[in-house]
């Protein structure tokens, strides 16, 4: 199950979506918005996606995980729009007969999501400024000043 939503993510619902009678272990990763980033106070975050492609990439990552591990169910849910501090921006849940596979697959999915899925985070700072997260590297690599 893959989902993009502008509503708060209900972890209990995600958990239910992966619970099966054959599951011995479920690993859930919850990414939450932190109140600081690079030493600066953050007041809120905003996420934008290239939605149809993001869903395709999420499905591709689920298929990759299922090839690597014998899994029961996989759920990948990402929130879009504004996300207040402390709320979940992403929830990954993986069920498997044994816990080792659930842990490894869950970590694989969040790592792959962060690398591959076209979603972007914009940070709003307490000092009133805002910027697209992770674009500082872009500008450093390319010796330009975009995105700072």
């Amino acid at each position: 199950m893959v989902l993009l939503t502008s509503n708060p993510i209900d972890v209990q619902t995600v958990l239910k979506s992966v619970a099966t009678p054959g599951s011995g272990g479920i690993d859930i990763f919850i990414g939450t918005t932190r109140d600081h980033s690079g030493g600066r106070a953050v007041t809120s975050l905003e996420y934008e996606a290239y939605e149809p492609m993001a869903l395709r990439e999420m499905e591709r990552i689920e298929r990759q995980a299922r090839k690597k591990w014998p899994l029961e169910k996989v759920a990948i849910v990402h929130r879009l729009g504004s996300v207040p501090i402390g709320e979940a921006s992403v929830v990954i849940a993986v069920s498997s007969a044994h816990r080792k596979q659930a842990f490894e697959a869950c970590r694989f999915v969040i790592d792959a999501l962060k690398k591959e899925v076209p979603i972007w985070k914009r940070e709003h700072f307490a000092d009133g400024t805002e910027e697209w997260s992770g674009q500082r590297n872009l500008t450093l690599n390319d010796k330009s000043i975009i995105g700072n």
């Binding site: 996606a49 290239y50 492609m53 690398k115 899925v117 985070k121 697209w132």
Partner: protein, 81 residues
């Protein structure tokens, strides 16, 4: 050849538009959308090493040959999660 160009995040902010039908000439490669964008804002010229291009919702290499009507998206470094 006309393709549908889509921009996201910092690329959209820099170009000032999110979607546009653009003519890339004959036998264009995916990476050439950056040259098109650099005509509007020279900063795009330096992006080739960091940006990824998706055609019809799938990542492609920058020398991928484009077809008429392709949806070509400029994907700055992603930061979901």
């Amino acid at each position: 050849m006309n393709v549908q160009l889509r921009l996201f995040s910092v690329a959209r902010d820099l170009a000032g538009f999110s979607e546009r039908m653009v003519d890339l000439g004959r036998n264009p490669r995916a990476g050439e959308v950056l040259e098109y964008l650099a005509e509007h804002n020279p900063e795009f010229a330096g992006w080739r090493s960091s940006i990824r291009i998706a055609v019809n919702e799938e990542y492609v290499s920058q020398d991928h040959a484009l077809n008429e009507g392709d949806e070509v998206a400029v994907i700055p470094p992603v930061s979901g999660g």
